[in-house]
Symmetry: C2
Amino acid sequence: MTAFTPTHRSKVKRLHERGRYDEESVFAILDAGILAHIGYVIDGQPYVTPTAYWRRGRTLYWHGSSASRMLRTQKVGIPVCVTVSLLDGLVVARSGFHHSVNYRAVMAFGRARFVEDAKEKEAELDYFIERIYPGRVATLRPVNQQELKGTTLIAMEIEEASAKVRTGEPKDDDEDYALDIWAGVIPIRQVVGAVENDPRLKAGVALPEHLRRFTDGTRFDSLVADSTGRLAKAAE
Amino acid sequence: MTAFTPTHRSKVKRLHERGRYDEESVFAILDAGILAHIGYVIDGQPYVTPTAYWRRGRTLYWHGSSASRMLRTQKVGIPVCVTVSLLDGLVVARSGFHHSVNYRAVMAFGRARFVEDAKEKEAELDYFIERIYPGRVATLRPVNQQELKGTTLIAMEIEEASAKVRTGEPKDDDEDYALDIWAGVIPIRQVVGAVENDPRLKAGVALPEHLRRFTDGTRFDSLVADSTGRLAKAAE
């Protein structure tokens, strides 16, 4: 099993029994999400920016306009922390102290760099769309040079990463299990809603086959994990 | 309308037309979420930790064990950035470039401090439970001194904050609207699942009235915004 080597920086300290360092655990969480929180520092001040991301091997990618403060700063290669978290449920305990949440989270550390090569840039942006909407890129108006130029693509090789996961029922104090207090789990999940046509959609254009899996009520993390997993496997 | 004054630190630079600084916009997002991403710096290295939080007026709170690296560091009052984001949908455009997501996000800046007073600590921890499960605290085994001591409570007065929101359909290039490409929005929402009893639940203990609003399929952000809003109003 390939694993990341935890150091002082990435080792899970609080509730360390929830920590995992193997690639499989880390990648499974990264591949089920689309929104990361990117932490970076300017003049001692921390910033946390939510942004869409994707993973290829041990590299994370995200993009944005070159006007963005974050990206301008990262041009010199500052250290960043990329955190992805998925909320899975409310843990309802018999005492206030033991109330908790079920979640899957990854903290990944590394140094961000610009991807400058136009071909690599285009391939990565296509991958980002394909991982969510497999089959879509071939149906789109192709990207043009101006757009490629106007898109800043950032890559970060993961130097260290840790996953932290909580699942299951509350852990109450032994003597509290005798109390007449309800306890359990309220699951939380992210789901897809009913697809909405663009009001300016050209007459006669139907929802394409590649978007039909987005049906009302389907778990979004499962959809993303599934298509990302198949894409990653095909690339091996 | 009361508003935060944006400075260099909090002003929305990228896609600035999406930025908002009024308390109402900022608080509405903070009160609809329960998971924040807290950014802080140790020796120049950024860390982003996902954690449950709540708001009272212009103050944000979160808690954890005093063993946590983050909390130990914050004991000296380092600057933090608290980001809350809610993903509302996938924006599916006619070109790769215009694919986007709908979201609501807040970045809040300030300095974290420990809450040391036991009474204030207890009141805040109760509030945290009441904002998600109104009516629950009165039914629980009361908190004990050891638990209060073992819980580290952090508070941050919001010095500056900005909200950033994207809603609605794709914004495609004018000439692309003539193409035979489907475009639109796939809504994403966080919902509650079917409530699960603790396997060790005492026989005869039924789901209490105060948890009955957590019905399978209900939007979680609406539930939280609703109960938090009523609690905040009652406190005015």
